[in-house]
């Protein structure tokens, strides 16, 4: 923009450039969100319609009683995540289990399906305290949050 350009157009041009950039940002954001958002799966959904191997997803459900075991390296644990329909997903996780991670409790796992079909978690989010339920678990089977909380606490 040189001095030769009509000065009175300047405001308009600035607004147009700003709009252009903001719209560009919006489009980029939309593109990014379509590709990078982590989709949330319940065990039933994952069993019925598994995501592609290696695609980052979130798995939420309850840790099945008696399924938690530690492998010989002392670092990797394996457990089964289940839901009310009794669908199950095998999960493997290497690392320190979060506070409050116990069998029969709710868990949200970030990770991906490995080629051998096991869900490999990079990070586990357990309940933060006895009143907290990961939001994705609320109403997971269309019941009210209270009922879900109850089931999570009794571990049914």
């Amino acid at each position: 923009m040189t001095a030769a350009l009509k000065a009175k157009h300047q405001r308009l041009i600035l607004v147009v450039i700003a709009l252009f950039v903001i719209i560009g940002a919006g489009l980029l954001a939309a593109y990014g969100l379509r590709n990078e958002a982590n989709y949330f799966y319940l065990p039933g959904q994952m069993a019925a319609n598994p995501p592609e191997v290696g695609q980052p997803v979130r798995l939420g459900g309850m840790v099945q009683e008696g399924s938690l075991s530690m492998l010989d390296d002392g670092l990797t644990v394996s457990f089964v995540v289940t839901d009310k329909e009794q669908a199950t997903v095998d999960v493997r996780y290497s690392g320190i289990l979060p506070d409050l991670f116990v069998e029969g409790s709710g868990v949200v796992a970030d990770g991906r399906i490995a080629p051998d079909g096991v869900f490999v978690a990079d990070q586990l989010l357990a309940k933060h305290d006895e009143n907290y339920v990961p939001r994705e678990l609320q109403g997971m089977d269309q019941h009210s949050a209270d009922q879900t909380l109850e089931t999570l606490e009794t571990g049914a």
Binding site: I22, L28, A29, G74, S94
Partner: protein, 652 residues
């Protein structure tokens, strides 16, 4: 009695806010009316009363008065005193009272100190401040009364979430709130100016210190929060793109843009309507953050009040204030006269670029934060994390940082690139050299490599405005800019270095065995039980050797609190000038082994040093501006005095 006093003060403060609103609004029609003189005193009294109410709540927490519901639900008599006090705002009601108190105090400060604005704009500003305040008083008194009594006093309190029982709670929420709510002043100024249509350099100079003040607190609050999450959660990360973190980042981005556009308005009388718009947007982002946090509609470590009624209430307030202000903006922006013009290659041009980029980043963060809510409406659950925010945000952050390295060298109004080609070439050469160096050094992610190169270039570029100047005569505000920009370079260096060079080691070790992470050799000396005032813990005693030389002792713990019953991981850190060793102890791994998670994070501390430098730069700018204002006021007073003196002498 104390609780009733607090509640009475709160109701009185709300009544005064109503009075302030009416007085301010009526004086718009009749400037000389008697009501007009009421707005200022009402604002000052309102601040005092809200402050009094807050002190009463602090008192209740200090003495652990278990007949008060909030105290019984959130405190415990066995808690250390500092956490009893900090626990006042570690819950929904208390933190909303803090919000309202800060807002009322900010209102009384403008009423007390602000003398530069035309009286009519001032009245409109106070009315707007009271109008926003009233909504939050209503929210507090009608749905979140912190002073509610229990029919029967509880025998013992339920305790505070152990994750919050940390010194971070004493500093992080109040500083953040000073920032969030301090932006309400910018909002009220913007609304006031829209109502009276008087926007110009004087308005900008009056608004700037308030924006700067809020921005300093916001910067410190975010920096403190990031460090707190880093050591308290034990995940080794310093930023998770958690919705609540985003909720604090968005007002910061808007306030940073506002800070720069208000400077253009003050210096050059340009970007009038845009500055007003940013004033509205910045505080809107604060309120949106409150809504996201308080309604619990998003998954977050901060979501402690899942109550649909409260969420609806805040949503209604949000729509009322943001919608109202934007409507007002739409109706009145046309009447704000166009400001001065400038050429693209000028200081203004660079600052407009900064503003547009910041707005784009703000939009990206906003969309990413709200996207899960959007898809949930269609029954699809998603979470959005670093794979989205990092690359998409970087597309706009990188050009902004590059322009930031040279923008301050440009002159106001019009300049040519040729004039600054030498510093331009120096900065570009440094960035290119640094980029080459990291590419040669190893295989790191693109963003980390670009980050390192830009950080080094920006660090040099930020000092360029001082080149060839007599350092003793450089204004304090300019030093502020230099320090803040340099701070951002330091923080960026820390972020990029942490992302590129961090090493992680997960190991199961027996007592006496060692694990290697980066230059450190960490030995597990023993594992023993220990006890604190309201917890017991398993503690691992680690001795760590840096490259076989100096030794550091680390004592990570797994703590079991009993009120409320909860387990937390207490990480420990060994800090050197060039980074931090971060250690967490896990469960027993069988066969006498214990799980250890170790990180070596080179230069990670630069992230927070940088944040502090940025805030320090803001403080210098604030001091510089205030001194300038005082000088100007003084000079004006002297001129008036001289004029009067001449007038008196003239007839003789």
């Amino acid at each position: 009695m104390i609780a009733e006093l607090g509640l009475a003060a709160l109701w009185l403060a709300a009544a005064l806010a109503a009075l302030q609103l009416i007085a301010g609004a009526l004086s718009q029609r009749d400037e000389s009316g008697e009501l007009a003189s009421l707005a200022r005193p009402a604002a000052i009294m309102q601040g005092l009363l809200a402050g009094f109410a807050f002190i009463m709540l602090l008192w209740l927490f200090a003495v652990t008065d278990l007949s008060v519901k909030l105290v019984a639900d959130n405190s415990h008599s066995a808690k250390p005193m500092i956490f009893k006090l900090a626990g006042t705002w570690g819950n929904h009601e208390g933190s909303m009272l803090l919000w309202v108190t800060v807002m009322a105090l900010a209102g009384s400060l403008i009423a007390l100190l602000e003398r530069r604005l035309p009286e009519r704009t001032m009245q409109a500003t106070l009315a707007a401040q009271a109008f926003v305040g009233l909504g939050f008083y209503a929210f507090l008194l009608l749905s979140s009364n912190p002073f509610e009594r229990l029919p029967e006093p509880a025998l013992e309190g339920a305790g505070l979430n152990p994750l919050l029982q940390d010194i971070g709670l004493a500093f992080h929420p109040p500083t953040l709130y000073f920032g969030y709510v301090g932006l309400s002043v910018a909002f009220s100024f913007a609304v006031g100016a829209l109502l009276t249509g008087r926007v110009g350099p004087d308005f900008a100079r009056a608004m700037r210190p308030w924006v700067l003040g809020a921005w300093i607190f916001l910067t410190l609050g975010i920096t403190a929060g990031s460090y707190w999450a880093y050591y308290e959660l034990g995940w080794g990360g310093w930023w998770f793109w958690d919705p609540v973190e985003n909720a604090s980042l968005m007002p910061w981005l808007a306030a940073t843009a506002l800070l720069h556009s208000v400077s253009v308005l003050a210096a050059r009388d340009a970007l009038r309507a845009w500055t007003i718009m940013l004033g509205v947007v910045a505080f809107s982002m604060s309120m949106l953050g409150t809504f996201l946090v308080r309604s619990g509609i998003l998954t977050s470590v901060h979501a402690f009040a899942v109550d649909p009624e409260r969420g609806t209430f805040i949503l209604a307030l949000l729509i009322l204030y943001v919608g109202g202000a934007l409507l007002l903006f739409g109706l009145k922006a046309g009447s704000v006269a166009e400001g001065e013009r400038f050429s693209v290659t000028s200081r203004e041009g660079a600052l407009v670029f900064n503003n547009v980029m910041l707005s784009a980043i703000l939009g990206i963060v906003l969309l990413g934060t709200l996207y899960p809510l959007l898809t949930e409406a269609f029954d699809v659950r998603v979470s959005v994390g670093p794979p989205y925010f990092n690359p998409v945000g970087a597309i706009f952050t990188i050009p902004m940082l590059i322009v930031m390295a040279i923008g301050p060298l440009l002159r106001w109004k019009g300049d040519s690139i040729r004039r600054i080609k030498l510093p331009l070439a120096i900065v570009a050469a440094i960035m290119a050299a640094a980029l080459l160096l990291v590419i040669v050094m190893g295989d790191y992610s693109i963003l980390a490599m670009l980050g390192l190169a830009i950080a080094i270039g920006l660090a040099v570029g930020s000092f360029m405005p001082l080149r060839g100047r007599n350092l003793r005569r450089v204004p304090i505000a300019t030093w502020g800019m230099v320090v803040a920009h340099f701070g951002l370079a330091v923080a960026l260096f820390g972020m990029a270095s942490e992302s590129a060079f961090s090493e992680e080691r997960l190991a199961a070790v027996e007592i006496g065995q060692s694990a290697q992470v980066g230059p450190w050799t960490v030995t597990l000396d023993q594992v023993k039980p220990v006890a604190g005032p309201n917890w017991t813990a398993i503690q691992g005693d680690l001795s760590a050797k840096y490259e076989g030389g100096e030794t550091a002792i680390l004592k990570p713990q797994t703590r079991n609190f009993w009120a409320p019953e909860q387990e937390t991981t207490e990480s420990t850190l060994a800090t050197r000038w060039n980074g931090q060793l971060y250690a967490v102890i896990g469960n027993e791994a069988g066969q006498g082994r214990w799980q250890l998670r170790l990180w070596w994070k080179p230069f990670v501390t630069f992230i927070w040093y940088g944040g502090i430098l940025v805030a320090l730069g803001g403080l210098l700018a604030l001091i510089g501006r205030l001194r300038g204002d005082l000088k100007r006021r003084h000079a004006k007073a002297r001129l008036e005095e001289q004029a009067r003196y001449r007038d008196e002498e003239a007839p003789v």
